[in-house]
């Protein structure tokens, strides 16, 4: 077919929103690649076709498999078969936990061109060029894929806009090859909240990161958050260390600060996984001793300085 093949992502019967962002991403290649097809792989893929019927999609492919939930062997076999039959120029998957589990294996086996965490894709003089971050997102890296007929790109989330205009793409069923999976998915486990904080609903969040240095300092920031009327959140290292419950972790594997309007990040460097949960907030204030910290790249206001000194002075203002 040439063109772009998008692999939609689903979990527990629901389409993951990033699947629609991939449709947005594919539009940047429209014109230079052919059609855009979206494949839904699952035990009941036909249930999700409506959720994918948007402008920018020419075809929706349903790929029925035995496993209801993601497993790497099933996805490698199904996507591999799709590639071998349809010969797309570009295959787009989300840069997500599921794709971490199979995309690289597929690229290795089928000798595809391959790049992950891509946030820009274009054709320069006819050649496909993908841009990703390097050295902790301090630099941008352009990569190309000389000599590869199919390129697999794992696209970063929260970059491309999902389409809004509904449409009626044609539907086709694709027969997936039978697979014997070596992984058997069991149940999902929701992380127990640990306490009753609801990061997703909080309008004002004060988040602490690795910069606080030791557990004993948590109390000071908890008290500060109370005084200024903020919900106390944290970045991954703080939750991993057990200094605050996981329910307070903002970021990809934690919570998204969905309702937040003011976000104060103290001692948070701004790892991409953290930014995924908060970079959309209208007013972000970053306080960090490292002037080069990535958090300043998404913040509206920045204070380069000692978080403890700032915290103490701020406390006096309330």
């Amino acid at each position: 077919m040439s063109g772009v093949l998008i692999i939609a992502e689903q979990r527990r019967g629901e389409l993951r929103p990033v699947s629609l962002e991939l449709i947005g991403a594919a539009q940047s290649l429209r014109g230079s690649s052919g059609e855009v097809a979206v494949a839904v792989i699952g035990s009941a893929p036909e249930r999700l076709t409506d959720a994918l019927a948007f402008q920018g999609v020419d075809e929706i492919l349903t790929v029925k498999v035995t496993m209801a939930e993601f497993d790497p062997d099933t996805f490698e076999a199904a996507v591999g078969a799709l590639i071998n039959e349809r010969h797309p120029d570009v295959v787009m998957v989300a840069h997500s936990v599921d794709s971490f589990g199979y995309a690289a294996a597929l690229a290795a086996k089928l000798e595809l061109g391959f790049a992950t965490d891509v946030f820009k894709v274009e054709r320069i003089d006819g050649e496909l060029v993908a841009t990703r971050g390097g050295y902790g997102q301090k630099v941008n890296v352009e990569v190309d894929f000389a000599g590869r007929t199919t390129v697999l790109l794992a696209m970063r989330g929260n970059v491309y806009k999902a389409p809004e205009q509904r449409a009626s793409p044609r539907l086709s069923a694709f027969a997936a090859p039978p697979t014997s999976s070596r992984t058997t998915p069991r149940e999902f486990i929701e992380l127990s909240s640990g306490d009753d904080v609801d990061i997703a609903a909080a309008e004002f969040i004060l988040t602490i990161g690795r910069g606080i240095g030791e557990e004993a300092k948590v109390a000071q920031f908890r008290e500060l958050a109370d005084a200024i009327g903020a919900t106390l959140g944290c970045s991954r290292p703080i939750a991993d260390a057990g200094w605050l419950p996981k329910s307070r972790q903002v970021g990809q594997s934690g919570k998204t600060a969905s309702a937040c309007k003011l976000y104060i990040a103290m001692g948070v460097s701004g790892a991409i996984q953290h930014l995924a949960g908060m970079k959309h907030v209208a007013t972000i204030v970053a306080v960090n001793s490292d002037a080069e910290a990535s958090i300043f790249g998404v913040a509206k206001y920045g204070i380069v300085g000692d978080i403890f000194e700032i915290a103490e002075e701020l406390r006096r203002c309330f």
Binding site: E69, T283, G302
Partner: protein, 266 residues
Amino acid sequence: MKILVAVKQVAALDEDFTIREDGRDVDAEFLIRDLNEWDDFSLEEAVKIKEAATDPVEVIAFSVGPPEVDESLRKCLAKGADRAIRVWDAAIEGSDPIAIARVLAAVTKREAPAMLFAGVQSSDQAFAATGIATAAFLGWPHAAVVSQLSYSPGAKSAIFRRELEGGLLQEAQIQCPAVLTIQLGINTPRYASLRSIKQAAAKPIETLSLTELDLAAGDVGEAGSASRVRRMYMPDKGRAELISGDVAQQAQRLAEIIREFKGAAS
């Protein structure tokens, strides 16, 4: 019985770094090297399994890179690895995760372990690809972002939990030997004692060449890679408006921002 742990020496950037003359990487003198943060956790997981096992288990840390990588491998030896292996050849320069995975797979075949661990990703390039690509070259079952693991060395299967997005976990069973990429927080990595650091300094680090691994120069480097770096450049970052003044003035401005928000919210 062996557990292999693939590790990487990562590089952070020094302040005021510059891009190399060919425009394809950062000038090497600005790179500050250390063991990848994720690898601390995968090594600890292997060492924990070894300590809990009744039969002897050998934990082997291995890496692809020039001699300076020995420093990171010694760190692994100090934290409980029994052996360390480093693979290097000038032809490996310019390798992407797929080419590196080919080398890791060759070492794994040679050592024939019961399990291979790798970090979910590296803190510098964050590909999140090398471990799983290695599994493909081995033909082994694989799982990514493992945040909990129950495995006895030599068992035919393991139970693990994958850490999904948004505070959700998924439990699954996997056939072994397998490749698992290990997530931060799966355990609490130990600190190396002074004594173990000293002992590690005296331990040999085995080195392997491409020939010893039956690999050709074309299997690695740009020829063996699925992508090639065209250009590296400093992004045009949106920058925060910096709040100036002394600490008291900065805190007062921050307090104003908070009060403005509260005024608007009420």
